[in-house]
Every structure is written in structure tokens, then in C-alpha cells.
């Protein structure tokens, strides 16, 4: 199955994606993961336009990295939480549920990309843009969680806890791979100093206005 067909089915008939898990090969999951990756790349490129230049490439690389690495860290807990709550997956069905989750999150981010692009190229506040991305990610997670609830019926509460976990992991992952949206000249691709996401968000909130002025004059 090709990527567009898989994403189209996921968007319009998500129950088909879930219900026919057993009769489909792993290529369907691969197609969904590939489609999700493409969506994250597009969203990342739009996010990078806040500073422009090389930051587009940096965000293009780091946004998918943040999402995929966070998901990978949370896969064991998703399996344990949902199976304890009563879901009974085969490995193929679990992979497809995860691929569908990634796909829905990607589709929502893709849908929000024009809005994100508009505010990204017109905003001068890093704080505003950061919270806009956090909000977009929350929206994507909510829709993706609804898909997951269909795949793992009876596990609604477990999925809600898992989504909160994934959200916090993704915040810390963003801090770990920073800088993402603004890259100062001469700064390494990854900052070496360890930091918590609380501290990182605080730094964003006190971001020097002089840097914003530079953006206005750009």
C-alpha cells in the first residue's frame, strides 16, 4: 500500500485501518510511519522559518527527531498500560495502532502547518511561537489519542495517562536537542549543558528582545 492511500484511509476510515490489522502485512504500518515522517518534516520546515536560513534545516531535522524519539521511549509504557487495561494486541495490531497514532498526529500537524507558517513568519516573540507549537502538539495528541482509543478499546484512562507521559517526554526531548527554533551564530547543533524543560521554558520566556529586533530588521 502506498503512503498516500494509507494516510487517506486513516483520515477517512480509521476503523478500517484498525479492524483489518490482521489481514494486512507490515507494509501498511511502514506506509503510515513514512507518511507521518513526511508530515513531521513539512511541519518542521515551517517551524524553522521563524529564524530562517539554516534554522529551517535544523528544525526540519529536529522536529521529527523529537517526535519519533519521544514515541520510541514511550512505546513500552503504551504496551503495558493498554494491555493492563484490557487491550489484547497481536504484535502486528500493536504496530499498526502505533503507526496510526503517528499518522494522525502527523496529519493534524500538517493541517495546522499553514497556520503555524503564517504566525511563524510574522511573529517576533519566541515565547509566543513556542507556546503555539506546544498548543499544536497538544491538538495533535488529542486527535491521535482518539484513534488509539479505538484501537485499544477499554483502555481510555490508560491512554490518557500515556498521552500526558508522552507530552512531558516530548517537552524534555525538545530541551535535550535544543536549539530548535533559534540558532545563534557559532552555537553547536546540540547544546551540551543538561537542563530540565521547566528551566528551558523559563529561558524562552526571558529571551532577549534584542534578538527579536534583529529578526525584525532581517
Amino acid at each position: 500500500m502506498n503512503v498516500l492511500t494509507a494516510l487517506n484511509e486513516l483520515l477517512k476510515r480509521p476503523d478500517d485501518t484498525i479492524g483489518r490489522a490482521e489481514e494486512r502485512g507490515p507494509s501498511h504500518s511502514v506506509a503510515l510511519f513514512t507518511g507521518a515522517l513526511a508530515c513531521y518534516l513539512v511541519y518542521g520546515a515551517a517551524a524553522g522559518l521563524f529564524q530562517g536560513g539554516w534554522t529551517v534545516a535544523i528544525a526540519l531535522f529536529k522536529v521529527p527527531l523529537i517526535i519519533i524519539a519521544s514515541l520510541l521511549l514511550c512505546v513500552p509504557s503504551l504496551y503495558v498500560f493498554t494491555t493492563l487495561a484490557g487491550a489484547d494486541y497481536s504484535p502486528r495490531a500493536f504496530a499498526l495502532a502505533l503507526a496510526g497514532f503517528s499518522g494522525i498526529a502527523g496529519l493534524i500537524l500538517l493541517a495546522l502547518m499553514p497556520v503555524v507558517w503564517l504566525f511563524t513568519v510574522s511573529s517576533i516573540s519566541l515565547l509566543f511561537v513556542t507556546w503555539m507549537h506546544v498548543f499544536a502538539w497538544i491538538v495533535a495528541l488529542i486527535f491521535a489519542a482518539q484513534f488509539l482509543s479505538r484501537a485499544a478499546t477499554k483502555a481510555g484512562t490508560a491512554i490518557a495517562f500515556w498521552i500526558i507521559l508522552l507530552f512531558f517526554v516530548s517537552l524534555q526531548m525538545t530541551t535535550y536537542v535544543r536549539p530548535v527554533l533559534w540558532h545563534n551564530a557559532g552555537e553547536p547543533l546540540f547544546k551540551q549543558e543538561k537542563e530540565s524543560f521547566f528551566s528551558h521554558l523559563h529561558q524562552v520566556s526571558v529571551w532577549k528582545p534584542a534578538e527579536a529586533v534583529k529578526k525584525v530588521n532581517r
Binding site: L73, V75, P76, V80, F81, L84, L165, Q172, S196
Partner: protein
């Protein structure tokens, strides 16, 4: 790891325990689960400090679980009998271990996440008191959440066995309170797990039996966090 997380496997184990069949074999599996997965979580818990504390915590988390089960078993057995649920001691021990095994499965599933946070957060130092307190509280909540999830299965099991919702709930609540009360103090006695930012790493503190965890949270952790929030 899958044996008890998956509903069908869990059902088989519980049916056997209820019928008092192959309980010894299930006890071995439950203990092994607690030892292996508890050690995995313990290692991630202690690794924020250093490798030595990771090793100590890998030993102490299973010890915490098994000690809690051992200390509560007698009470659980007597309470169940008094409330009209006569079980053999080995059945009670097996049932006491089920929620702890489930709790270690949940905790172990979070190891990639806790490991990542350990890797990416600033190392322990006197300046990281807030971070230490947050980590301590987060791990406490994680373990408490995992424990509560584990014991929620116990309520269903007890209901299946005695067929009386009120009686099952009473026994469940008493067992849960005992786990929390005893588990908290055993954890305090076996500290450090996360490690202090002021004190050296040791296997057990010299004042291991001085004070309890609830006093520490109320008199130290929460007031500090409250001050940090500007309260």
C-alpha cells in the same frame, strides 16, 4: 513480562491461585518478575546520581517490594479471614505479590522515560535541590500510581473469589492502606534511592530507622516546592 500484563495470562494465574493449584510455581514467577523488573527500575532510579547508587537501588527496589509483601502478608491473611474470606497463607502471599508484580511491570515500562530524564537533566549538586525534590516526588507518584493500579486488580480478584462486592472492597481497601503505610516506611528505611544532593552515596543510611517518609514529604519536600512557587 507479558505473562501477567496480558489479561488471559493473568486470568490463568488468578484461577490457579483461587483453586490453590500450582501456587508454588506462580509464586516463583511472581518473585522473579519483581526481582528482575524491580531491579531494572531501581537502576534507572539511582542512575541520576551515579553507577554505585544505580546498583544499590537495583538491589533495593526488589527488596522493598518483597519486604513489603512479607511484612503485610500476615495482616492480609488475618484480615481476609476475619472478613469471611478464608485463604491459605500461600494463596494470600501470592495475591499479595500480584499487585506488586504489576506495579514493577508498570515501573519497568517507564524505564526508557526515566533513563532519558536522568540522561538529560543536570547532575546532582547543592544547586539542584528543586530538581532533586521534583525527581523524588515524581518517582514517588510513579511508584504510588503503579501500586494503586496493581491493587485495583486485586479488588477484582477478591470480588471473583468471595463474590461479594462490599466485602471485596473492604478487604481491598485494608490491604491497600497496609501496602501504602508499610511500603512508605520500608522505602524510607532503605533510602537512598534517588540520592541526596548533600550526603554521600551509601547502601543504607546510619539513621535508616529515624523518621518516616510522610514526615519528610510534609516537612521538607512540599514546603520547599511551595517556596519555589512563590507561596
Amino acid at each position: 513480562m507479558q505473562f501477567i500484563a496480558v489479561a488471559a495470562q493473568r486470568r490463568q494465574l488468578l484461577d490457579d491461585v483461587r483453586a490453590d493449584v500450582a501456587v508454588g510455581r506462580h509464586l516463583t514467577t511472581l518473585v522473579l518478575t519483581i526481582v528482575i523488573l524491580g531491579a531494572t527500575y531501581g537502576a534507572s532510579l539511582g542512575s541520576w546520581h551515579d553507577g554505585r547508587l544505580a546498583l544499590y537501588a537495583a538491589i533495593k527496589v526488589p527488596l522493598l517490594m518483597l519486604t513489603t509483601a512479607a511484612i503485610t502478608a500476615m495482616f492480609n491473611w488475618i484480615v481476609a479471614a476475619l472478613l469471611g474470606l478464608p485463604l491459605r497463607m500461600r494463596q494470600t502471599v501470592a495475591l499479595s505479590l500480584v499487585p506488586l508484580a504489576i506495579a514493577t511491570i508498570i515501573a519497568a515500562s517507564l524505564v526508557p522515560v526515566t533513563w532519558f530524564f536522568t540522561l538529560s537533566l543536570p547532575p546532582p549538586s547543592a544547586a539542584q535541590r528543586t530538581l532533586h525534590n521534583l525527581l523524588y516526588l515524581t518517582h514517588t507518584l510513579l511508584i504510588a500510581g503503579a501500586g494503586i493500579t496493581g491493587t485495583s486488580f486485586l479488588r477484582r480478584i477478591l470480588f471473583d473469589i468471595c463474590g461479594d462486592a462490599v466485602r471485596a472492597t473492604r478487604i481491598h481497601l485494608l490491604w491497600l492502606a497496609t501496602y501504602a503505610f508499610v511500603g512508605g516506611e520500608v522505602a524510607w528505611a532503605l533510602r537512598p534511592f534517588v540520592g541526596s544532593i548533600y550526603l554521600p552515596v551509601v547502601f543504607l543510611r546510619s539513621d535508616a530507622l529515624h523518621g518516616n517518609v510522610y514526615e519528610f514529604i510534609v516537612t521538607d519536600i512540599l514546603p520547599h516546592l511551595w517556596r519555589q512557587l512563590g507561596g
